[in-house]
Structures are given as C-alpha cells and as structure tokens.
C-alpha cells in the first residue's frame, strides 16, 4: 500500500488532504468530525479580531445544469471569540496528535502578530498560515490581499511571524497579482517555511438580472468576493507550477484551488504541491468526499508505482515548459472512430465555426464525419466537444521533420514543417 504520509514545510499529517482555512474548518467540532472522516489536516479558519458578517455570503456559478462549478464568498475571517478558538484548537490537538492543525492568522500590527502567534503556538498549532490572500472585506482594512499584493509588506510581516513562531510558517498567497513569483520569493525572503496557494480570486459571481443587483445580494447591493471551486483549478495549477519551476524559489507548496477529487489532487502534487487543501467541494458535498480522495490517490500511486508521496511531488514540473521550447514539428491529426461515432456532428460545427474547417459531413451520406487530415491542425477542439469517450483521438503524424522549437528556429535556424490551415 502506498504511503500517503505527508510532510509539507515540516508540518506532518497522515495524508496530504487538508481542509483549507474556510467555513469547514471553523470550529473544533467540525475539525474533529473531519479528522474522524479521514482528513489529514486542517487549516483553521482565519483568526484575528472577530468580525461581523453579512447575509447572504455565498454565490454559485451554475453551468448547463451543473450547480456551482464556480463559487464565491464575501464572508470574512472568524466571527468567534479568540479564546474559544484557541480552546478548541487545544482540544483537537489533544485528540488528534498526528493530524496537522495549522492556524490561519490575519492581524495588523507587529504586536498583534506577536500576541496571536504566541497564543496559537500555545494552543498546540503545528504550523501557521499567514492569510495574505483574502480579496474582500479585510483587504480594504489593510490586511489580506492588500499585504499579499505588496512584496515588501509581505516580506516584512512574514519576517515578524517567523521571528515570533516556533512552528513552521506558511504564507498564503493571493492570485490577484499579475505574476505570482515575486510574491512567493518575498515570502521566501521573509523566512517562510512554505507557501500555500491560491487564495480566492477577486470576483463578481453573477448579477441578479431581475433586481439588477450583483450576487450574493446583501439587501440592495453586493460586493466583490473571492472566487473558488472547480472552475479556478486551471489558474491555481498555473500559479503553483510557476513557483515550482522557478529556479529562485525553493519552498514547499501547499496547493489550493478547485481541488474536488483525487485526480485534481494528483495534478497539484505533480506540479509541485506537497499537501493539498480543499474547501469548496467540502462545502458542496461534505467531509465524506475524503474517502474517495484517499482511495483514489492510493490507487493511482499503486498503479503508477509510487510508494511514497514525495516521489510524486513535482513530477510534472519539468514538462511545464515555455512556449518557445515546444516542438513545432510535432504533428497530430484528429481520427474519428466510426464504430463509436453517434453522428451528433458537434465536431463538425465546432471545427467549422471555431477551428479550421477541416471536419466535414460524409459525402457518401453516412452520419460519421470525415476529417480532412491535410487541413487538420491537431487543435483538439473536436475531441473536447465529442460526447463519446474515445471516439476522437489525436493521432501522431510522422512528417519526417526533426523536432524543432521556436527558440531553436530563431537562434539555431532549425527547420520548421510547413504550416497547416494557414491559408
């Protein structure tokens, strides 16, 4: 059986699945229930000066009948008294000594950081996570993403935290920046043990078009919220990978952003995460999803021959390349399996209207479309729209050209194959 034991920045847990700092990790009773269900760790909902929240707080992005493929919230940090939180953290750690309890923090002054860190460590925290990411409510008060967007502020406050903490400090990064790398490096300079990302993306989840008020609606108005859920995974994967492959950056990463199942977790781990944090899918489906996450990850590792989790961490990072280093002579064309095709012609219309006009109705009248391989640029669009698993495959073509990248072409005169579909 593969070993899922996790060590992320010196914080250990029985598996890499941590609850992210959010409503599912709001209280001791919840976190204990989550640990009982199988979660390996939890990042406690951010502690700071308890706030007052609004109603409503959440919004969902629904698409073609699927509810909440994206999600956002305008909820703030904890609204519960600090002493209650610390007491519960203590109780959780007492009952679950091997599970990771990371305490998320967000305060303003150095003195406040000092005090809250001391209390967190005293309560038994295995690590701290500095919330430099929240893009709503707290940032207007000079905290959250207002810190995470300024590398010098990030570095200074990280340094305070590291100075006062006897446990590892993670810095949670905001994605609301043009390039994540300088922010990861700022945390590294500040002495962080690791980073966690992404926090939520500044967003308006939708507009109530009857009332003409954005959502989630608070009386007659709304505000920008933090976007998360399955739909943000691609953004999160890119930011995780951008840090993981940066030669200057060498901290462990706790990956966050749209992780809904074990496959998502494998992707985050392969791009450099040593633990993964989950919130939205738990909010939508409950703690119970972790059973499948653990089993699925174990099954994957067994199938692929990984015995320990760290063998998988970052394994896809080398393949995350610059565009200029991709092989321009690599050629694929779409192949349609006539036995599987159901004749929906979604590939035909997609190729016609959205790609290169190379899939046509069969001139002989069958319902199976025909690919004009001399025009097919191998873009994948047809395969993406095809509703039948395995019906359209992208087949490699041996065109006789040696691999050549754009950079090799520019600087070394490498020969490129003739362009297809560019007339």
């Amino acid at each position: 059986m593969p070993d899922l034991t996790t060590n992320c920045a010196g914080i250990t847990s029985p598996n890499p699945f941590w609850l992210a700092s959010a409503p599912p990790a709001n209280s001791g009773a919840q976190v204990m229930r989550a640990f009982d269900t199988g979660w390996g760790g939890a990042v406690w909902k951010t502690l700071g000066q308890p706030i007052q929240n609004v109603s409503s707080r959440f919004g969902g992005l629904h698409y073609r009948g699927t509810r909440a493929i994206g999600f956002n919230n305008i909820e703030l940090i904890t609204d519960r008294p600090l002493e209650v939180n610390f007491k519960e953290i203590y109780e959780v750690k007492k009952r679950f000594p091997k599970h990771a309890v990371v305490v998320s923090l967000m305060v303003e002054t150095e003195q406040e950081w000092h005090d809250i860190i001391k209390r967190s460590v005293d309560a038994g925290a295995d690590g701290l996570e500095l919330n430099f990411g929240c893009p709503h409510g707290m940032c207007e008060r000079g905290m959250g993403s207002a810190v995470g967007q300024e590398p010098t502020v990030n570095e200074r406050i990280t340094a305070w935290a590291v100075k006062y903490s006897s446990v590892p400090v993670l810095v949670k990064l905001t994605p609301n920046v043009s390039d994540i790398v300088p922010h990861g490096l700022a945390a590294q300079r500040g002495g962080a043990a690791g980073v966690s990302l992404i926090n939520t993306i500044k967003s308006i989840i939708g507009v109530d078009i009857d009332r003409l008020v954005p959502e989630p609606r608070v009386s007659g108005a709304s505000t920008n919220g933090g976007y998360c859920g399955a739909a943000v995974k691609p953004i999160a994967l890119h930011m995780v990978a951008a840090l993981a492959r940066d030669p200057m950056f060498n901290l462990p990463i706790s990956g966050i952003g749209g992780i809904a199942n074990w496959r998502d977790a494998v992707e985050f781990i392969a791009l450099g995460s040593s633990s993964v944090q989950v919130c939205t899918e738990v909010m939508l489906r409950g703690y119970r999803i972790v059973e499948d996450m653990i089993e699925g990850l174990e099954g994957y590792m067994r199938d692929k021959g990984f015995e320990r989790l760290d063998q998988l961490v970052g394994r896809a990072v080398p393949a995350f390349s610059e565009w200029g280093d991709l092989d321009l002579n690599y050629e694929t064309v779409a192949k349609i399996d006539a036995d599987k095709c159901i004749g929906c012609h979604l590939c035909v219309v997609a190729c016609d209207d959205g790609a290169h006009q190379c899939i046509h109705n069969d001139p002989n009248g069958s319902f199976v479309p025909v690919v004009d391989e001399s025009e097919c640029v191998g873009c994948n669009l047809c395969q993406i729209v095809c509703p039948v698993p395995g019906c359209i495959t992208m087949a490699e073509v041996d065109n006789g050209f040696a691999p050549a990248t754009w950079n090799e072409h520019l600087y070394e005169d490498a020969v490129l194959r003739p362009k297809k579909g560019a007339h």
Partner: protein
C-alpha cells in the same frame, strides 16, 4: 364560439400517461441534450421543428423563444407534444440511442415549453396585410388549422367549414384521453384562431349544406382537410346488437360525453392497428374488466406501434392472435360474445376451427371509410385510399388543395399539420402568381 363540453365526460377519469415535466425535470433533461448539428431528430419530425434549438432555449430560460421555435414549424406543437409517437419519430432518432443512453424526452420538453406558452397566453404571430384573397377550408382539424394559420400570416382571409359543432377534428374527439383531453384540443384550436381573420362555420357540411362548386365560386382557393369517414365494419351477423361499436364512434363518445358501462365485464377489441390499441388502453382505463384484443395476424405483424402495445400489455391487456370475427352473438338484443374463426399463417380460416369469446362490449377497429366523393371532380386524382396530391398539397384541380388523413391515407396529427402548413405556402403561391 367556444364549445363547452360537459365536465363529467367519460375521458375525465384518465390521467396523463406521460406526466408533464416540472421545471427541475425539464431543466435536467434539456441540459442533457447534446445540441447536435444537423440533428437527426429534426429530420424525423414531419414538421421539421428545430428541436435542439428549442431545447437549448429551455435550458437557458428563454422559454418564450423556445415556444416560438416550436410554433414556427408546428402551430399545433402543444398537442403534437402529447400525441406524437415520438418513440418512432424524434426520440427514436436521438443520437443517444446510438450510444445506448436514454434518448432525450423531446415530447415532454416540447410539452413543457408549449404548455407554458399556451397557459401564459403568448401569441407569436400576426396576420399579414390583407391580400384581398379568400380561402375556404373544409374541416376544422389539424390540417385545416395549420393551413389557415399560415394563410393568415400571408394575409389571406380564411373561412373554415366544419360539419360538427366541435372544432379541432380528431385532435378533439379522436386522441386517446391519456394523451390529451378534448377540451385541451379545442382550446388549442381556439388559440390558433387567435391570429384573427379565420371565420369558422360549424354545423355546415360541405356537399350537404353548401356545395363544393359554390365554394369554388365564392373563394379564390379551397383546402380540403376532412380526414377519414365513419368506422368500417366487417359485415358479419350481429353488428346491430347493443354493445357493438365502431372504434372511432366509441372514442368520440367517451371524449365528448358522459358514458355508463354498467354491466360490462368483458370487452373485446377487434383489430391490430393503433386505433385498436388505443381502444384497448381506453377500455382498461375505463375499468371495463377483462379487455382482449382479437387480431387476425400475429403480434409481430400487427400495425399498431410496438411501444403502444407494450404499454397496453403493462396496463393489463391481453390478445388473441389469428382470430377473425364471423358473428357477434347476443341475448335479448345485447351482445354476449364474438364468434371467431381461427386463422392460419396466411390469415385463412382453418376449416372447422371456431371459438366463442365472451364479450359485453365489442369495439371494432378495422379501419375507417374514405370521404372521397366530395372530390370526384375534374382534375382531382385519387386511388381507393386517398386523394393524390403533389408534395405541396395541390390536387391537380386548379385552386383545390388537400392535406391530412384524406390525402395521406391516415397518418399522425403531425403529418396533417405539416401538410396543411405546406399547402398554405402553395396556396399563397397560387394566389399571388400572375
């Protein structure tokens, strides 16, 4: 003009065989539609409704647009949603069948959109500017309604002559009540007439109360959509017995009137077509005890749709195959049984093989007579079954067009709608050329 039907009609005991979708069901099903390009379901619809488009509009909440997409092709889209044999039309051709997944329930989605349009009172069409031309339409069934509606969009004045007091044709008095009730069909017909400028003269039978040649003189064109004639009977002894009815007569009676079936414990339906299967399911639904279909052929050869017969069997129907009535037997003027000959594989009587099947009610569903006499006119072509028309409904006699069961030999409501609609286009061309 609205015809008030009695509330306690016999058909009122029936519930919908295919219940209407509630919104969550409609959304789930609509979102399942693949939105095919060149969708086979469109080709399978005689009226060519742009099915993927109306379904997508349900999914996005554009319900008014969804209904309009349906009505653009089929102005009787609401009743067709209920009565079409979708299993052998659009649903039967859904691409999901090819991947062994449940096909999209197109009929139920169409009902969802059109019911809403109907109940909301949405009207999508306006009559065209007055052309000064007048068209007479004979029969107020689906073919004439579709024809008249389209003619009004072209601006031609329309007058429908209907021999009954009830408009809607077979949609009103011939559709199985677990698919649609008569009042709904009549209300739909009135909704179609809402375009305005269609005069309906009920209680006037062309050929009796007014001559066909009079219509040809008074109108610029004539559309004939009179459907089929009365039930055929087998011409065997005992047809006069109380309790022996033609199928169409029976269905009309239960749809339009109250009925009592006291004392009926055993019903026999003679025939193996769709009307026979309808009668079987209706008799079961009315609680007429044991219901038996008697057909001269085999289950594999019956012309009734397999999906309908399967549903009838689930309802509790049974059938006796390869039997043909040779007499109805009675007692005191009331039928008590059907004497049948046992047939061989070639439907020939096996000598000496006769049986008696007990029955308190016999419904004879062996076809309907044809109403061809009205059109025995110069230029009109016909065979023994139907008026022969061009694809656009032209009969060969200038200015005379036909559609529906009269011209197609008895098909579905949706065929009648398509033929009426297309004939209107041809009539418009006829009226406006030269």
């Amino acid at each position: 003009m609205a015809t008030k039907l009695p509330e306690n009609r016999a058909e009122s005991v029936f519930a919908d065989y295919k219940p209407a979708y509630q919104t969550p069901q409609a959304l789930a099903e609509a979102n399942r539609c693949l939105y095919c390009q060149d969708a086979p379901c469109i080709g399978a619809c005689p009226t060519g409704i742009n099915i993927p488009e109306f379904i997508r509009k349900i999914a996005t909440g554009n319900l008014r647009g969804s209904a309009r997409t349906i009505f653009d092709s089929n102005i009787l889209g609401m009743s067709c949603a209920r009565v079409c044999p979708v299993e052998v039309l659009c649903v039967g051709d859904c691409v999901y069948n090819r991947m062994d997944q449940p096909p999209i329930q197109i009929g139920k989605l169409q009902r969802y959109a059109t019911d809403l349009a109907f109940e909301s009172g949405w009207q999508f069409y306006e009559a065209g500017p007055d052309s000064g031309k007048k068209v007479a339409l004979i029969g107020a069934g689906p073919a004439s309604l579709a024809c008249a509606h389209r003619l009004r969009r072209f601006g031609h004045a329309c007058t429908i002559f209907e021999k009954r007091d009830v408009i809607g044709g077979l949609n009103a008095f011939g559709v199985a009540p677990y698919k649609m009730k008569a009042d709904r069909a009549i209300e739909e017909a009135e909704w179609v007439l809402g375009i305005g400028g269609i005069e309906v003269k009920t209680g006037i039978e062309v050929g009796v109360d007014v001559s066909f040649s009079q219509l040809e003189r008074d109108y610029d064109a004539v559309f004939v959509g009179i459907g089929l004639g009365p039930d055929r009977h087998l011409g065997v002894p005992g047809e006069e017995l109380e309790g022996v009815y033609g199928a169409v007569d029976f269905i009309e009676a239960i749809k339009l009137e109250p009925a009592s079936f006291e004392g009926v414990r055993r019903a026999v339906v003679v025939g193996g077509g769709n009307t026979a299967v309808d009668c079987v399911r209706e008799a079961i639904g009315l609680g007429l005890g044991e219901v038996t279909m008697v057909y001269r052929g085999t289950e594999a050869k019956m012309s009734g749709y397999a999906h309908e017969w399967k549903a009838a069997k689930i309802d509790g129907a049974r059938a006796i195959w390869r039997r043909h009535p040779i007499a109805y037997e009675g007692d005191g003027g009331r039928v008590t049984g059907v004497r049948v000959a046992v047939l061989d594989d070639d439907k020939q009587p096996i000598p000496g093989r006769e049986e008696l099947i007990g029955a308190d009610l016999v419904l004879v569903a062996v076809g309907q007579s044809r109403l061809l006499d009205l059109l025995k006119l110069d230029g009109v072509r016909m065979d023994s079954r139907r008026i022969l028309t061009d694809a656009d409904g032209a009969t060969g006699r200038p200015g005379v067009f036909a559609g529906g069961d009269l011209a197609n030999g008895a098909k579905e409501v949706v065929n009648a709608v398509a033929e009426g609609r297309d004939a209107a286009v041809a009539i418009h061309a006829y009226l406006t050329e030269a």
